[in-house]
């Protein structure tokens, strides 16, 4: 499975980013290049999980506001800055759900549905598609998060680990377990 290339950065890129961060710590106006670079990624991450577009933009703004406010707490740990932004985004997103400002939504396209059905070695028909969507809706939040990050957004296990604050190996194990749960649900429904 191919992974999202946006996350993978060269060392020189990361150093350049670090320079922006240092300058932004002194003056928030210098956060602009980071905002420009990551706004779309963060928005897509948020919008993938909710239905309301305007609310997704609002949450994205909140993410960047929080990032600027808490930039003094940021410590470079050899991973791209965006993983820190994703963690803030995850927190803001669930805060929005808790405040009932938005509903949790799973957005999937036909190609991904087909991919799952093929993985489960079943026929790709309308009935199975419907069944898969029903099974997805019945997954637990933790499993759904892993499937979204790994199979919908095609992120590496390292990145998943950083977003969910777990180890890379743990992300790997948990992702496959989540897939197994979906498969089990799907097969049981089929029988």
């Amino acid at each position: 499975m191919s992974v999202n290339p946006l996350y993978h950065q060269t060392n020189s890129r990361m150093m350049e980013e670090l320079d922006w961060i240092q300058r932004a710590k002194a003056d928030p106006a210098h956060f602009a290049p980071l905002y420009k670079k990551y706004h779309e990624q963060i928005f897509r991450y948020v919008y993938q999980r909710m239905d309301d577009e305007e609310m997704a933009f609002d949450v994205t703004s909140q993410v960047f506001m929080k990032a600027i406010k808490n930039l003094h707490k940021y410590e470079f740990r050899g991973v791209p800055f965006v993983s820190w932004l994703y963690r803030i985004a995850k927190s803001e997103l669930y805060q929005a759900f808790r405040d009932n400002k938005a509903d949790r939504m799973v957005n999937i396209d036909t190609v991904q549905v087909t991919g799952f059905i093929e993985e489960f070695e079943h026929d790709e028909n309308e009935e199975n598609k419907e069944r898969l969507l029903l099974c997805l809706s019945k997954l637990k939040e933790e499993d759904m998060q892993l499937l979204e990050l790994r199979f919908f957004e095609k992120r590496s296990f390292k990145e998943i680990g950083e977003i969910l604050e777990i180890t890379e190996n743990n992300a790997k194990v948990k992702s496959f377990r989540a897939l197994e749960k979906l498969k089990k649900l799907f097969i049981n429904k089929n029988e």
Partner: protein, 260 residues
Amino acid sequence: MKHFKVNLDRKKLTSEYIESKQNFDSILTKVNMSKPGFWKSAWFYGTIGLSGVAAIVGYNFSQSESNINETIITQKNIIQQTTVSPAEAENELLIARHVKTVETYSAPVEKKVTVIPEKKTTAPMPVTTEKNTDAPGNTIESVVLKEKTVDKIAKTKTVSRNGMPSISGVYNGDIQWENFKQGEIFVAEDLSVKQFSIQYTSRLGDKTISVEGSKIPQDVVLDLEKLGLNQTVFITNVIAKNDNGDLMRCYSMDLNLKFK
């Protein structure tokens, strides 16, 4: 049970559209607006807190200083005479015919009693300590206190009930004249009285005298004896010194003198 709503093939937003929604300036403005005021910052609270503590400490210090500087009219100081009734003023003149000067308690004290014996005050006005000029030539300069020596008490604190001062075992209430005039103020084994004030009524009126030491001054005894009436004597500002040299303020005493 369903946990999520699932959307299939939702219309994708283009990168251009998302970029068009970028507004870094508004985010920056919101960040600046949401910055807490300087009054919410740690350094502000720290400064205010320290100033407050300093103010409280300073206030307490000045209070203790004012206590320290409390004037104690010592034995060297003297007789502050209060208002005397006209009848007493006449009486005073009669006394003055026989007494030229009033004895002083100690060397630095200067007391003057100047009397014009031939003329009597006739006015119904009260005679005051300093001057009472009723008519030209009728002047009673009864008593003058001259110098007030102020002793500074380094530190005073109220002692416990155990430190209740007493004279001949009496700390309050009736006391026989004989016991009083020969007695001295006793507080406790480890406390010796260094000074006190005594208030009483003499033939010249009410008097407040500050005394160094623990004994009732002989002059006071004479004054009281001359009047020879049962009266209440107030002993206040009793300052005692302990073995460590700390000065302490003891409780006051109200003693009812009983002449036989």
